[in-house]
Symmetry: C2
Amino acid sequence: MAADGLRLWPLPGIPELTAGADLAALVLTAEPNLRNGDVLVVAHKAVSKAEGRTVDLEGVTPSPQARALGRQLGKDPRLVEVILGESSAVVRAQRGVLVCRTHHGFVCANAGVDASNAPGPQTVVLLPADPDRSARELRDRIERLAGVKVGVVITDSFGRPWRNGQQEVAIGCAGLLPLVDLRGQRDGSGRRLAATWIAVADQLAGAADLVRGKSSGQPVVVARGGRLPLLSEHGPGAAVLLRPRSEDLFS
Amino acid sequence: MAADGLRLWPLPGIPELTAGADLAALVLTAEPNLRNGDVLVVAHKAVSKAEGRTVDLEGVTPSPQARALGRQLGKDPRLVEVILGESSAVVRAQRGVLVCRTHHGFVCANAGVDASNAPGPQTVVLLPADPDRSARELRDRIERLAGVKVGVVITDSFGRPWRNGQQEVAIGCAGLLPLVDLRGQRDGSGRRLAATWIAVADQLAGAADLVRGKSSGQPVVVARGGRLPLLSEHGPGAAVLLRPRSEDLFS
């Protein structure tokens, strides 16, 4: 493998997390040889559970709007109530699909609220309240415990309007430039690169998913090498991946 | 690194391609040690150029529609003419952005027509006419020349409606299952995985982009290892990544 290659591998042995769990310590137990410049790619559910971002549907009373949407879409109205609570807007509610804009600004199905891999049969997992802060905190704690500066990307699976299937994208990021802007640069022929504005953190989120079993308890993947644009500071976070609403042609 | 890790590295020394170039032979010169199960992730421009899928704008006469759209969007009307020729529909034409549905069914900016990394100042590069066929042909030729069965993914950079930046996606695929459907399976708690339908080929396309310099003449990346769903046959191709128009909520 060339020296500029990238390696990705999942960390084994990270147990089911509960509120207050020290994810950084669990990561370091699973991989004691983290290096400066490694990037931890973490499925958000591990972070959300450690942060207590779960809701028991038994305690939820759906609003009239949630009941109506639930009927229309064939969804549990209590789940719809939780989704609406996480949303600033409903973007589409059609054919069983509820696409929302979350309070963070992500446009995704069900505002990121998910019942799979949840801790109990009536429990759903929310996105972290501030995934960029979660990424910074995990990065800081890894540095404090192990003395290494890693990058952190927190991910969720998003659908795409015109493509089947889902892919992991970055919802939180620290220590890595999420978006690399080459739009002013020139190609091999001296011509300006037309539209080269690379969503590195999203691509890394998807890359990590290739080595992780979905139901296998492997929320953390290590990425090492490659041309990853590491930062010594935390950097701007995944928030820079959000297209401004003024430039949105599709909601 | 755990045994289930994934490695990706770019192939050096692949020259600028011209029509009729033997990309498989160039790949094998750059990487004589390809193994069964390796996946070649190839930026489509290399394939398009080898297939002669370029257009010299000097020979293009724009239609009235192309002239009007060019004026509206601030684009060269000859380029718009080429884009419309590649399109079955214009999805959005606003704020300098022309999003089209290509004849293949991809929804993307400029129908994939691109002037960067093109062979001449007035030349633009189109998507391959049938990128799945291109992937199958490259795979077959690698097997014929070197006796190894590889997977092939052909990629392009697509924007996303609600996220800044672009990411590589699969437009052609052979020898790899592009889309893995776990929707019937259960998670660690025995609950059905809600929406786990993984766009593996897209994630691999993005992963490869992490190790490739955009303007550095590295169109081919090798991926080895991981949990890639390899196929002995060519498989369904990237066409299965296209969401049916009947399920499109956004164009």
